[in-house]
Amino acid sequence: MAVHETTPIKERILSVLVENRAGVLSHVIGLFAARGFNIDSLAVGETEDPTMSRITLVARVDEKTLEQLKKQLNKLIDVIKVQDLGDEGYIDRELMLVKFRTTPELKKALESIMKTYKVHVVEENAKITTIECTEARENRKKLFETLKGHDILEIAQTGAVALSKKEPK
């Protein structure tokens, strides 16, 4: 008999199809809360079938915990399907809104940032500049690092939404 080997903690992305009903999200989140796992990001929305919602969930866990989480999610009655997108290859996007204090340096910096990242200015006045960024999670993190030097007032992020690259069954 062997106990499970410990595996490194990694960021995992799960796509969970659920019944589009009240209370379902609390069941899903409850699983994480009861085991003391933090969810890095979570996004929910209706799918092509209005009776189903897709929850995209990013969490940092090890391999064994991931396996348990997938099984526990599958056990929930309102969960229809659990996809481990790490297994399949996926496309992901996050939306981030960042509000800055307007400065000449910021304006200049944004010009070059916009060449590298999918960023545009959504509102700008003498005091405040707000930008919108739609990027894959990895890029969004990099972008965040480059913005840190500026005078950030507030940030709002959606968390990742993602789809597998495969043709659905």
Binding site: M1, V3, H4, A22, S26, G30, E67, N74, L76, I80
Partner: protein, 557 residues
């Protein structure tokens, strides 16, 4: 069909599901439901506390294999069911619990007797529903019974606002369910079954370790066939007792913390561990790193999340264990276990289950006598603590659905109402609740329920005037500091049962104990207390301390 109310629809659905008993207690928010229940063809049993209702339903479910049904009111009525629901969840007992709720438009307004019951019970139910539209009710009821009883069973709760119970609608009970997210795998994978058969044939020292899943799936017959065919020794978990008859020659008794030395030793030495409907609970494994260190593992379970949860499994087989064993029995070849079995026989002789027999009335003796006089066909329920372990060790039940105990949650107060539930289901059987002086007081109010219904439940109190298991641990690990474990203030249990209209006897000696048990057989129409005043500081042995391995097993000197 004329329109009926939501409350009447619930009663109709219960009838269609073949419900025989509903256990419950009314209150404001479920008055419409109890009004509808007044006309029901099945029996409605009024309890004295809602926790009692849930344990009765559990006892009924565990002894019959059918779902237990509970109806209570909102707020405190519902929160009083929480312990019972959690208990049923841990032990996979099928229940449908209907809780009244305040009017749907008042939910969230801190109305009188309001509690967020679906919120509270989310982590302790297999599924729960809040009905906000009466037209959803037939589907919800059908799904509730289906979910409770299919796959790995468990409690399902329906929170039912009083205005919905009064709403009129066209009721049609669905014939089938279609739940997209619930398609349990019942048939074991043939390839995995073949792999298992090969492993079994090649093993020299196999052990079959079975749990509650065998009882739930009705696999006891297939299990015996399997065990006899492969000639392997077999051990049960607490929840698995009765899966194999307690007197079967290949049966080694329970394993784990208070299991027999030889069962634990066999698991420690085996080269193949065949787990059937068991879940590698910490009370079974102790230190995981040292559990079954030489063994490959085959694990059969209907719940995929039970597999490889605690230990790494070599051959997992997901499915209904009865179906898996049935398929496996067709192809499996016996292993050559002659040497192995004789080795275990030797260990059995070296360190048998035993206690000091010095003329004093000891708990083990009382339980042995209960078994001897009531017989191995009786239904035995237990509470939680020392008496529970002694009952598991010394009351050798002959078959499945006869040993009712709170295994996972360890709920003191489970035993007596569970016995009542079982006695309702089997009025002609001997039903005995083996309990302690601590545990019995946690649902003793149900004496009234037993008296009203003339139930001859036997209540065997192993009375040591302590919270015995707590005291044992305090003796062993806390330097004899008996902090809050002395039950000073215990009532006279015989006078107490008499006050309710039952009967009872004290027994202080071995002879009195035997006489009292024989006398109890003459009581046919009311509950009967046997108050065994036993050696107070007796300990449960063997014992593997929590988190330790077989190497550190403590047996009596």
């Amino acid at each position: 069909m004329p329109k009926i109310t939501g409350a009447q629809a619930v009663v109709e659905a219960f009838s269609k599901e073949g419900v025989e008993y509903v256990f419950g207690l009314p209150g404001g928010a479920c008055l419409p439901l109890f009004d509808a229940l007044y006309d029901a063809k099945f029996k409605v049993i009024l309890v004295r506390h809602e926790q009692g209702a849930v344990h009765m339903a559990e006892g009924y479910a565990r002894s019959t294999g059918k779902p237990g049904v509970v109806v209570v009111t909102s707020g405190p009525g519902a929160t009083n069911t929480v312990t019972g629901i959690a208990d049923a969840y841990m032990d996979s007992i099928p229940l449908v619990v209907v809780t009244g709720q305040v009017k749907s438009f008042l939910i969230g307004n801190d109305a009188f007797q309001e509690a967020d019951v679906t919120g509270i019970t989310r982590p302790i139910t297999k599924h729960n529903f809040l009905v906000k539209d009466v037209n959803d009710l037939p589907r919800v009821l059908k799904e509730a019974f289906w979910l409770a009883t299919h796959g790995r069973p468990g409690p399902v709760l329906i929170d039912f606002p009083s205005d919905i119970s009064l709403a009129q609608f066209d009721f049609q009970y669905p014939e089938t369910v279609n739940i997209r997210g619930f398609k349990p795998v019942l048939e074991g994978h043939p390839g995995q079954i073949k792999k298992a058969a090969k492993m079994i044939a090649e093993s020299k020292r196999p052990v079959v370790y079975t749990g509650g899943g065998v009882i739930i799936s009705g696999a006891a017959k297939e299990l015996i066939k399997f065990v006899e065919k492969i000639k392997a020794p077999c051990t049960n978990t607490l929840m698995g007792l009765g899966g194999v008859s307690g007197t079967h020659p290949q049966f080694m008794g329970m394993l784990g913390m208070h299991g027999t030395v030889y069962a634990n030793r066999a698991v420690h030495e085996c080269d193949l561990l065949i787990a059937v409907g068991a879940r590698f609970d910490d009370r079974v494994t102790g230190d995981l790193k040292k559990f079954a260190p030489k063994a490959k593992i085959i694990h059969m379970d209907v719940d995929p999340s039970a597999i490889s949860k605690n230990v790494k499994v070599d051959v997992p087989i997901v499915g209904d264990v009865r179906q898996i064993l049935h398929e496996l029995n067709k192809i499996v070849e016996p292993a050559d276990t002659k040497e192995w079995l004789s080795e275990i026989e030797k260990w059995k002789k070296e360190s048998p289950l035993r206690y000091r027999d010095d003329g004093q009335l000891r708990p083990q003796y009382a339980i042995q006598k209960l078994c001897e006089i009531y017989g191995s066909d009786a239904i035995v329920s237990t509470d939680v603590g020392q008496h529970q372990m002694w009952a598991a060790q010394y009351y050798k039940v002959s078959g499945p659905n006869q040993f009712l105990t709170s295994g996972g949650l360890g709920t003191m107060g489970y035993g007596f109402p569970a016995a009542i539930g079982a006695q309702f289901a089997f009025p002609d059987k001997i039903v005995v609740c083996i309990t302690g002086d601590g545990s019995i007081q946690m649902n003793i109010q149900e004496l009234a329920t037993a008296v009203v219904h003339k139930l001859p439940v036997k209540i065997a109190i192993i009375n040591n005037n302590y919270l015995g298991m707590v005291r044992q641990w305090q003796e062993a690990f806390y330097n004899h500091r008996y902090s809050s474990s002395d039950m000073q203030g215990n009532p006279d249990f015989v006078k107490l049962v008499e006050a309710y209209g039952g009967v009872g006897r004290h027994a202080k000696t071995k002879q009195e104990a035997e006489e009292a048990i024989r006398w109890s057989l003459t009581i046919k129409d009311r509950p009967c207390v046997l108050d065994f005043i036993v050696e107070a500081e007796e300990n449960v042995f063997p014992m593997i301390p929590s988190g330790k391995s077989f190497e550190e097993i403590m047996d009596m000197a």
